[in-house]
Amino acid sequence: MLGRTANDLYWLARYVERAENIARLIEVGYRIALLPREGEGYNEEWRYTLASAGCADGYFAKHDNLNTRDVINYLLFDCSNRSSVQSCLKAARRSGRAQRIALTRDMWEALNDAWIEFSNIKPTDVTANELPKILDWIRSRSALYRGAMLNTILRDSTYFFSQIGTFLERADNTARILDVKYYVLLPEVEMVGSGVDNVQWGAILRSVSAHRSYRWVYKQNYRPWRIAEYLIFHKAMPRSLGACYDHIMTSLDGLGQSCGARYTCHETALETAHLLSEGDIDAVFRSGLHEFLQDFITRNNRFGCEVAEAYHFNG
């Protein structure tokens, strides 16, 4: 496989995953923005959405204040925003088209259909009533692409690089959501148990599709530490950092076997995976959740760069 192909497959997977994550974040932000809140404008919720998406700086470079329409437009359609759904789908399709032969027909069609249909949506079509439908559609497209991939692709390097891209992006996203939102919520401990608070906590879980599974797993109300534990360590939760690193390790081992060599990226990932398997939430809180998550995000990024280097992504 060409190094450039590996690079494209990795980014293709990352962009598809990112488009889905952005859709989730908007969905949650929108739910909360609809709720009355004390003390601050309800638009403030969008600040956290933008921060979680890593889009805050870009947004405020273009807009002076927060309002629902501008934020949604920026996250869905703005081509100057590299993480907007439009940019993600476009980049994903460009990578897919450049690597047409690495994709199966099912994967290509899922990707190409998504791009064609999304191109037909005009920003003015996105009315309040249409928004949920469009967000659902984005998620279903991402699911279709992943499904097509899992069902049709050979378990060789094409699969491994796609998996690494997906789970690296997903882990990054989960870590950011937790980092941004958790701090917003912690000062309000006195409100624990109030209605709004539960919605706020629920929003963190909802943005990773875990608000129902949490109750199944913990059989109790939302508790800040439990939520953090769930999203960091709980491997049964498919968007937790632990689960993401399980997938990453499996694919890295696969690459190690098919390429007959192990590199620095293997060591880095192993270390991170070890932290996630052996760590516990009490220790994390003692040393600082924010510090833990920032460290994780840095490790995760470094790991991405090491993969690119080991497998000659840039020739």
Binding site: M1, L2, T5, R94, R97, R100, R105, E109, N112, H312
Partner: protein, 465 residues
């Protein structure tokens, strides 16, 4: 479909015509829309240069096939094989002893000062002495018996993916038709291409040759075809940036590091192949590639300089060329051609402009041509001046009464003019796939079939005995 003697439906079409008679126009139109959706989903588009987004268009696909009988096809293949061998013999000669020039059968300056002639190729020894391994020969039909060759595409002919995908689409949409009518399969093409490429690998190789397809990239108009063929053959699709000359061999940059490439099926033009030898600003090719090629360390398919055989100025000498190298008369005829570089030809052309088709010697894609019978007086006058200013740049041919085939248009099914590009492969043997790319002029009365000028494509059926 109908003969020109008014005898009704010709026999190769009879079974199909019977089926067509039972179809409702609305149903056919629905199928046509369905076909378009299929093409768009698969991404069988061609890019328009210079734009990234709006840049992908579909070539219109007509669901009514063009049909040839087994015996018609046999005649064509014999003629094609003769041409393929003669053209390659011509190239070998031109780049070696130049016997044909010494024999005075072709003017020396026509070859030597031709921009398609690559002096760096003189004395090079391509494996098996083959220069053009993949050839697409454009053929038109003017009557029951008469086929003419319009052009021999010996450089990097494209369109073969349409031959394959058009068939896929037809089989998907009309399985009942294929159950009724025995149509020769085209699906061996990629395998035959691979065999051809393997057969011309550098000779002293002690392992299976590694093959790669070199594309200019996703913005090239034929990118879909490049990726399609690489996929079907199971070889890497590479760009110039993926290749490097290292340790005296051509290497591609894989996830394991550099890996040697032995045969490069290139789909970029000669001038971009190697910035050290040809265009210095090219980023599509590989520095040092040409030296490796000359040294026999890698095979380039088609060979650099293969364009000399399909140059429009050489075209009128092709019957001569076939006679010279095969000792036989050409089986497929050329269209009579006036070389405006010759004074007597120019005089004739200037007097008969309204009846003739005038083409630029180095033009392609249907651009820069004049179709006398449909041109306005102004257009004719403009061309007259161009001809007088640069006669060497032009050739002229009579307007042929191109055959037609029923085609689905807005108003129903109506005849439209078409041509045919069968594809021949030449390596250890000549392999010709039964079928080809049929291009159809969708405008009523139009003779221009180029996709860049509003032409469409059809599936091409060769019936089995």
């Amino acid at each position: 479909m109908n003969g020109n003697g008014g005898q009704g439906v010709r026999s190769p079409y009879s079974a199909f015509a019977e089926w067509l008679g039972t179809q409702k126009l609305e149903a056919l139109k629905r199928k046509s829309v369905e076909a378009e959706t299929l093409f768009r989903r698969t991404g069988i588009t061609f890019s328009v240069y210079g734009s990234e987004d709006a840049g992908e268009r579909l070539i219109p696909f007509d669901i009514i096939p063009r049909i040839l009988s087994a015996s018609e096809w046999r005649r064509l293949t014999v003629g094609i094989e003769q041409r393929v061998r003669a053209l390659n013999a011509f190239m070998y000669d031109i780049y070696h002893r130049q016997e044909i020039i010494k024999a005075g059968r072709i003017p020396e300056e026509l070859v030597i000062s031709n921009s398609a002639f690559i002096p760096e190729m003189v004395g090079a020894k391509p494996p098996l002495g083959i220069y053009s391994h993949v050839i697409g020969i454009d053929i038109v039909r003017t009557s029951e018996k008469d086929f003419f060759v319009l052009e021999d595409n010996t450089r990097t002919p494209s369109g073969v993916s349409y031959m394959l995908e058009n068939r896929e689409t037809m089989m998907h949409m009309f399985p009942d038709l294929f159950a009724k009518i025995r149509v020769a399969s085209v699906e061996n093409y990629p395998e035959n291409l691979l065999k051809t490429l393997e057969s011309v690998a550098p000779r002293d190789l002690d392992r299976e040759p590694t093959i790669a397809l070199l594309t200019p990239g996703p913005f090239n108009s034929a990118y879909y075809e490049h990726s399609f063929l690489a996929d079907q053959m199971g070889v890497e699709l590479v760009e110039g940036q993926d290749l490097v000359v290292l340790d005296g061999v051509l290497q591609m940059k894989t996830i394991l590091g550099p890996t040697q490439v032995d045969v490069l099926y290139r789909r970029i033009d000669d001038e971009f192949l190697d910035p050290l030898v040809f265009r210095p600003d090219s980023v599509l090719g590989v520095s040092g590639l040409f030296d490796l090629y000359r040294g026999g360390r890698v095979t380039i398919v088609n060979a650099p300089g293969a364009g000399i055989a399909d140059d429009k100025a050489i075209y009128s000498y092709i019957p001569e060329i076939i006679q010279f190298y095969t000792g036989r008369a050409p089986i497929l005829q050329n269209v009579p051609t006036y070389n405006c570089r010759k004074a007597e030809d120019l005089a004739y052309v200037l007097e008969h402009l309204p009846e003739l088709v005038i083409k630029e010697v180095h033009g392609s894609g249907g651009y820069g041509m004049l179709i006398g019978p449909t041109a306005s007086k102004d257009e004719i006058d403009t061309f007259r001046m161009k001809l007088q200013a640069h006669p060497d740049n032009y050739i002229a041919q009579p307007t042929l009464a191109l055959s037609t085939c029923p085609t689905l248009v807005e108003a129903g099914v109506a005849p439209r003019h078409l041509d045919l590009r069968p594809f021949a492969l030449f390596g250890d043997q000549v392999r010709i796939t039964p079928g080809g790319l049929t291009r159809v002029a969708l405008k009523q009365g139009s003779l221009v079939v180029n996709s860049s000028q509003g032409g469409g494509t059809k599936d091409t059926w060769v019936l089995q005995d």
